[in-house]
């Protein structure tokens, strides 16, 4: 729980402290490699660099000004008014206006129709001068924090269809298979230190590490299970706080139509082994939808394994041909799925790990958490499971009640909270991470640049 966070923070400080002796240099090209797509919704790396949000959140989850400089809530959090920062321009020189913000948010909400995970928590949004006014049917007490999510980034498209934002970088094209972003000199938050960023997408971790070892990459991903190895190799590793939830979802039909059978599954899983061995003690064992450091009450959800109780709940039933699948094709997730299958096998469930092509009774998912405040985080996590707008209060007790109400159904079995980590080369300086573990490349500089 908090210890994990402390360790992460220490690592963060170590990383920053070791490089903060000199002022950052300007210039240079930062080369980063990632497994995913740089434009993936909602939090692709390129999106983060090109686009801005109305707000950002501090490490403690407090909304901070970004494109909006202040905000006020009215009508018991049903109406919010955000004042836009003045003198902000899109990367093509177009000024940021209330209308452009509203237009961008409309696009987000329209897109969310196709992607239900992104739900707009307001009924209407309109611009009045430099103010953006949100009106919702239900109270949205954490709207400023919600608007810091990348899903609500302000974007527009130019005539060629290219994405344009107000962020520190702008897209210039592809070079050598990499997406190239150039520094936005007129960024309202200041020009980034590096002149450009090359994003090599869709690279396996193995390839990333190989490139990193030969100096072809400056920043590469370090999966949680490899953090330990990276540290043993004395790599510079920056570890975020827990931002990815490993959870098992149980389809409430067929063999698991009964709650007791689902509860048996939840009791049969061995989270400690997953955390200690597969994820090399980098995970936080949890039975909660929120990390302990974020909520402070996750320990109320018991994580202990009780095989005898699981067997008793199963009651001698032996559902045949149970499939456990995971949409994440990584070897570690597959390994985790196999371990869970073994756990369940001990409890009497004949579970076989299979690809996603088959209808699965059990699904192992890795869900990303972007929000940094408990209420927004719970809202975000519940949205992952198709339960939007469930969180209407922000006090811890209410959040716990809401979470317990959801988890009592036993269709979601949270397992681990995992951090994200990045290894950075010797010439990289001042690499920081956002609260959800993304590298803050705009604040990063390169050694030796002028």
């Amino acid at each position: 729980m908090a210890r994990r966070f402390v360790i992460s923070a220490v690592l963060l400080m170590v990383a920053l402290g070791a490089q903060a002796r000199t002022r950052p240099h300007y210039g240079g090209t930062l080369r980063i490699e990632i497994q995913g797509d740089p434009w993936q919704m909602p939090d692709g790396l390129a999106r983060r660099l090109v686009l801005d949000t109305l707000t950002t959140v501090s490490e403690t989850g407090i909304a901070q000004p970004a494109l909006a400089v202040r905000w006020t809530a009215q009508n018991a959090d049903h109406r919010w008014e955000f004042a836009l920062r003045s003198n902000v321009h899109f990367q093509d020189g177009t000024p940021l206006t209330g209308e452009s913000v509203v237009l961008a948010l409309h696009d987000v909400c329209m897109h969310s129709a196709a992607a239900p995970a992104i739900a707009c928590p307001w009924r209407t949004v309109r611009a009045v001068g430099d103010s953006i006014i949100f009106v919702s049917d239900a109270a949205v007490p954490d709207l400023p924090a919600l608007l810091a999510q990348e899903a609500f980034a302000i974007a527009r498209q130019d005539a060629s269809g290219a994405v344009i934002g107000t962020g520190p970088f702008r897209v210039t094209g592809f070079a050598n298979g990499a997406l190239v972003l150039a520094a936005n000199d007129d960024c309202w938050a200041g020009r980034p230190f590096v002149d450009s960023v090359e994003i090599h997408a869709h690279r396996t971790v193995r390839d990333q590490w190989l490139d990193f070892s030969v100096g072809k990459a400056d920043i590469v991903e370090v999966p949680p299970e490899m953090i330990r190895q990276a540290q043993q190799q004395h790599l510079n590793v920056l570890v975020s706080r827990p931002v990815d939830l490993l959870a098992l979802t149980v389809a409430p039909n067929g063999s698991f139509a009964g709650r007791e059978m689902r509860q048996a599954v939840a009791l049969a899983v061995d989270r400690t082994a997953l955390s200690n061995v597969i994820f090399q003690k980098q995970g936080e064992v949890t039975a909660s939808l929120l990390p302990e450091a974020l909520s402070g009450f996750s320990f109320l959800f018991p994580t202990e394994r009780n095989l005898d109780r699981a067997r008793a709940l199963r009651g001698g039933a032996s559902p045949p041909g149970l499939i456990l699948s995971t949409p994440d094709a990584s070897a570690t997730m597959h390994l985790a799925a196999e371990r869970l299958a073994l756990n369940l096998h001990e409890a009497g469930f004949a579970v076989q790990v299979a690809g996603t092509g088959l209808p699965a009774a059990l699904t192992l998912r890795r869900l990303h958490l972007e929000a940094a405040s408990p209420a927004a985080a719970l809202d975000e996590m519940l949205a992952h499971f198709g339960q939007n707008g469930t969180v209407t209060a922000t006090d811890p007790a209410s959040l716990w009640q809401t979470e317990r109400g959801v988890l009592d159904d036993e269709t979601i079995v949270p397992l681990l909270w995992l951090p994200r980590a990045w290894a950075w080369g010797e010439r990289v300086r001042d690499l920081g991470l956002s609260p959800d573990g993304a590298p803050l490349l705009a604040d990063t500089s390169l050694e030796g640049a002028k």
Binding site: M1, A2, F5, V6, A9, V10, L12, M13, V14, L16, G17, A18, A20, R21, T22, R23, P24, H25, Y26, S58, E59, T60, G61, I62, N87, P168, D185, D186, C187, W188, A189, G190, R191, P192, F193, E292, A293, L294, S295, G296, F297, F299, L300, A372, S373, P374, D395, P396, A397, W400, A442, D443, S445, G448, K450
Partner: protein
């Protein structure tokens, strides 16, 4: 040797009285009067020494509310977990009666952590001036009209603080005035700014592309300050009567000086005047990492300064050669940045003090108005805050 530091009062009973009472009330509302078994666990970063205090307060409050927490065989179990989250402390009470479990929670402000200022024998004295949530670019004390003011330069405003003149040195600084800064162009990402003493006005504030002037104003009751800002590309004053042009996009000095030495300098971050017997040399930390000493129109690279940071301040301590260079540098990795005093002998930088860890990132070092000390800005994480220290070198 002297350790300078600010001692934060330990969180004692008074700190926890109200939270304990509030939680006791919540627990009593769940259990009602009667015997109960109380278990208190600490899952937070609270020091272990605080736990007995909190437990005692809780037991007292519960007892007053009719909940007798001594019953070890009671069917009612009260498990209080002192947890915390990113926002602060969270005290969670689980009341278990049979198989029924009810929960109550109470957010509690975390006690401020004691800053680290210890470190055994050191030669650098540090005094905490103020802690700010917003980034601090520079902070200096100016005395105007007999009033001592701490002027803090933030990216978007200038804030002045005053404190009780009768208890100088011990009472906290209290915010007095705040002046927003306006700038038509975006700041560079690694924003720097410096407060420079002036005869009239009181101070100049130099930021990339912006120059503000702080002057006394008698418009209000007593003496106050007025600050006016304007876009400006004027060179910033550096030592030895020189001024240097600042690259507002690159956050460093361009190397063009006015009036200059008749030669082009490479871009540099910081410049300082280092006195010696025959005059003064100018010490420069270049953008490329080198340290340069300009003496009599000759630029000499300084050896032994590989571990120097970009920011430094020359302290006229009177010790040793009479002037030391206070530089941020690499200390033990786990301890964050460090400060160290150096002397320049010939072309070589020689450390003259042990490094002092600052438990954070040194974001700025500016010399004080009299040149005997320096303002040191340290960014600390978790939670994020900026500490402004005054550092000086003490002779052994």
């Amino acid at each position: 040797m002297c350790l300078g530091g600010l001692l934060v009062p330990s969180a004692r009973a008074a700190t926890w009285e109200q939270p304990a009472l509030d939680l006791a009330r919540q627990i009593a509302a769940l259990t009602g009067p009667g015997p109960a078994r109380l278990i208190l666990e600490n899952a937070s970063t609270l020091p272990a020494s605080e736990i007995p205090v909190i437990r005692r307060l809780l037991e007292q409050d519960l007892h007053r509310l009719g909940v007798l927490s001594g019953g070890s065989d009671s069917a009612t179990l009260i498990r209080v977990t002192l947890s915390e989250n990113l926002q602060g402390g969270l005290w969670v009470a689980e009341v278990q009666e049979g198989t029924e479990m009810r929960v109550s929670m109470l957010p509690v402000p975390l006690a401020p952590a004691a800053p680290s200022g210890n470190g055994g024998t050191i030669t650098i004295r540090r005094t905490l001036l103020i802690t700010d949530d917003a980034p601090v670019l520079d902070a200096k004390i100016f005395v105007t009209g007999g009033v001592q003011r701490l002027v803090v330069l933030e990216p978007e405003r200038i804030v002045t603080y005053e404190r009780n003149a009768a208890a100088l040195g011990t009472s906290p600084w209290i915010q007095d005035q705040s002046f927003p800064l306006t700038h038509s162009r975006p700041y560079p990402r690694d924003l720097r700014g410096e407060l420079v003493a002036a005869m009239d006005p009181v101070f100049d504030a130099w930021l990339p592309g912006v120059n503000c002037r702080g002057a006394e104003s008698n418009a209000g009751v007593g003496t106050s300050l007025a600050v006016t800002c304007a876009d400006s590309d004027d060179p910033w004053p550096i030592r030895s009567g020189q001024k240097a042009f600042f690259n507002a996009l690159r956050d460093n000095f361009t190397g063009v000086l006015a009036p200059g030495f008749g030669m082009d300098l490479p871009p540099f971050y910081e410049a300082g005047e280092l006195p010696h017997e025959t005059g003064a040399a100018m010490l420069l930390t270049l953008v490329d990492g080198r340290v340069l000493l300009m003496d009599a129109g000759v630029a000499k690279p300084v050896a032994g300064a590989n571990d120097w940071g970009s920011d430094f301040a020359v302290l006229r301590s009177g010790c040793g050669s009479g002037a030391q260079v206070l530089v941020s540098g690499s200390g033990a990795a786990a301890a964050g940045d460090s400060l160290r005093a150096w002397e320049i002998t010939g072309r070589e930088a020689i450390p003259v003090s042990a490094p002092v860890s600052v438990d954070g990132v040194v974001t700025a070092i500016w010399p004080s108005t009299d040149g005997t000390s320096a303002t040191i800005v340290v960014r600390r994480e978790s939670p994020l805050r900026y500490e402004v220290w005054n550092g000086s070198a003490l002779c052994n």
